[in-house]
Symmetry: D2
Subunit: 187 residues, 4 copies
C-alpha cells in the first residue's frame, strides 16, 4: 500500500474541483490509500503518514493562498527534518491564463523542497496544447476533458512514483504507460 | 521621444509573431521610436540606446532559449553597471499551456533584474481568462484576438511607462486608460 | 517630496533590524518622507500613499512569512488595479546562507508584479562578496558593515529611483553615484 | 550499483571545485559509480545512464551559464520523454552572496523538472549559518570547511536517495544519518 495525501485550500471551489480529479487520478493506480484534506482539516501527522503529496492552492497574487502558507509555517513545521524524501507535486487554479498558476506551483515547490520532498512535474501532454509540466494548472475550473485529465494525470503520476519507488512495481514507470503521453499523439 | 527595443529570438516563428504584436502595441503610443531586433542582430549598443525593453523567447525547457541567454552572457555584459533603471518586460510562447511560458518569463526577469532593469508585469485582463500578469504568454502562436491583444498590451504598457516616467506624460498612466483593463469588463 | 514605504514583518527581530537600515538608506536621499510599518500596522492606504515600497519578510520555508502574504491577499487587494507603476524592492533574512533568502525575495517580487509594481534589484556590490542583486539578503541579522550597507543601499536605490523618475532629479541616477558600486572596488 | 552523474560547466574554476566536492560526497556512499563530466564532454547517453544527477553551473546573470542551457536545449532533448523519474539536484557558484546562486539553482530546477526529474534540496545544515536547501551555493570557491561540506552533502544526499529508492537500502535514509544535520547542532 502507498499513502497519498491531496492537501489543498479552495476559495471559490475551483481548486476543490481540481483536487477531486487529482484524487481520481491517484486512485486509478491500484493499492493506494488516499486522503483528500483541506488545510483546515489536515495536521502534520497526515504529512508524516503520506508517501506522496499533491499540494493545491488557488493562485492568489501569483503565489499560494496565505492559508496554505500558514499551514506550512505553523503546522507542518512540527515535522521539519523528519519527513525527508517523500514525493510531491502541486496544482493551482488562476483566474486567467498568464495569471500566475505556474508561478504559484513554483512557490509551492519551494516550500516543499524546504521540507526535503522530491518534487516533480509531468512531462506528458494530456491533450492538444496542455501539459502539467510544473504542476497541473487551470484557468478557472477544469471544464474541458483535457483539463480534467491534466489533474488526473498529476495524481496518477504521484501514485506511479510512489508505487514504482516504494513498492518496486516496475510496470508503473511512465515509459511503460499505455495512455498517450507524447505531444505528437495530439497533433 | 522614447526608445523602445523589442529583442527576441524565435525558433518556429511563434515568438516572432508575438514580437510583431508587441511592437504594434508599443507603437500605439505616440512619440516612440521602435527597434525590433533578434538576438542575432542586436548589439549591446541597442540596449544602451533604449529606454525600455520587451524581451521575448520561445519557452525552451521552461526557460529562455540558450541563444537568448548567450546574448546576455556575452553581448549585454559589455554594458553591465552602465544601463541601470530602464523599463523591462518579457514575452514567451510555449508548446502548450502549463508548459512553462510563465516560468520562462520569470527566468528572463531574473536576467533583466541582474542588469538593473525596472521589471513589470501587466495587471490588466485583455479578454476573458487571459492576462499578461508576469509577461505576455501564449501557447503556440497568437491566434485569438485576446491573445494578440495580450502581446499588444505588453508593448503598449512598456511605452506608457517610458512616456509617463521619462517624459512626464501623465495621461499615459494606466489609471487613465480608455481601454478595458478590469477582469470584470469581460465577464 | 517622494513617499517611501518600508513594509515588513519580523519574527525574531532580524528582519526588523534590516528594515531599520533600509529606512536609513532611503532617508539618505533628501526630500523623502518615510513610513516604516509592520504588516500589523499598515493599511492599503499606505500602499496608495507611497511612490515606492521596500517589502521585507523573514525567509520562512523559502518564501515570505504567511502574515506577509495574508496582508497582500486581504488588505492590499482593496487597491488592486489602482496602484500600478510604483517602484518596489524586497529584503529578507534567512537562518543561513543557501536557506532561501533569494527565493523569498523572488516570491515577494511575484506578488509585487501582480500589483503592477516596477520591481528592481541592485546591481551594485556593497563590499567584497556581497550584493543585493535581487533584494537585500542576510543570514541572521545584519552584523558586518557590508551587510548593513546592503540594506541601506537597497533603501537608497529605492529613493533614488523615486527621485529620479518622479521628480526629475537627474543627479540621483546610479551612474552618477559617488559611492563605490563596482565589484572591482572591493577586490 | 547506482549511477551518479555530476554534470557541470565552469568558467573560472570555482564551479569545477564545487563539482569535485559533490563527487567526493556522492562517492562516500558505497556502491555508486560516478561520472564527473563537463557539458563539453557529456552526451545524452550519460543522462540516460544515470540514476541521479547533480547539475552545476556558475551563476551568470542569476541563471545558469548559456553553455549549460545549450546542452539541455540541443543535446539532452534527444532523450526527452524517455528519462523520467531520475533524482536530481543543483549547485552554483556566484561572485557574491545575494548574487543569484539560489536563483541559478532554481533555473536549473525548472529545466530538470521539464525532463521529469525528481528534484530535491537538502534540509540539513552543514555548519553554522549554511545549508544547501535548494542546491549547494557558494560565493566564489568553496574555502571554509562548511562550504566544502555543503557540496559534499549535496552529492551524498543524491547517492542516498538513489541507494534508498533504487536499491532498497533503508539505512541510507537521512533520518538514520550519523552526521549532524540539525541546525541546533551548530549553535
Amino acid at each position: 500500500m502507498g499513502n497519498i495525501l491531496i492537501l489543498y485550500h479552495s476559495n471559490t471551489g475551483n481548486t476543490a474541483k481540481m483536487a477531486d480529479f487529482v484524487a481520481e487520478g491517484a486512485a486509478s493506480v491500484s493499492g493506494m490509500e488516499i486522503r483528500k484534506l483541506t488545510t483546515d482539516e489536515a495536521t502534520a501527522d497526515d504529512l508524516q503518514w503520506c508517501d506522496g503529496i499533491a499540494l493545491g492552492s488557488p493562485t492568489n497574487m501569483g503565489s499560494m493562498a496565505w492559508k496554505v502558507k500558514k499551514w506550512w509555517d505553523t503546522e507542518a513545521i512540527k515535522k521539519w527534518l523528519e519527513i525527508d524524501g517523500k514525493f510531491a507535486c502541486a496544482f493551482s487554479s488562476s483566474a486567467g491564463w498568464g495569471g500566475g498558476n505556474e508561478t504559484a506551483c513554483n512557490a509551492m515547490a519551494t516550500v516543499l523542497l524546504n521540507f526535503g520532498f522530491l518534487y516533480f512535474g509531468v512531462t506528458d501532454y494530456v491533450g492538444k496544447g496542455l501539459t502539467p509540466h510544473y504542476g497541473a494548472v487551470i484557468a478557472g475550473e477544469p471544464r474541458e476533458e483535457k483539463e480534467k485529465e491534466s489533474c488526473r494525470r498529476l495524481g496518477r503520476r504521484l501514485s506511479e512514483w510512489v508505487g514504482y519507488y516504494r513498492e518496486g512495481r516496475a510496470e508503473l514507470h511512465p515509459n511503460k504507460a499505455r495512455y498517450p503521453r507524447d505531444p505528437k499523439s495530439f497533433e
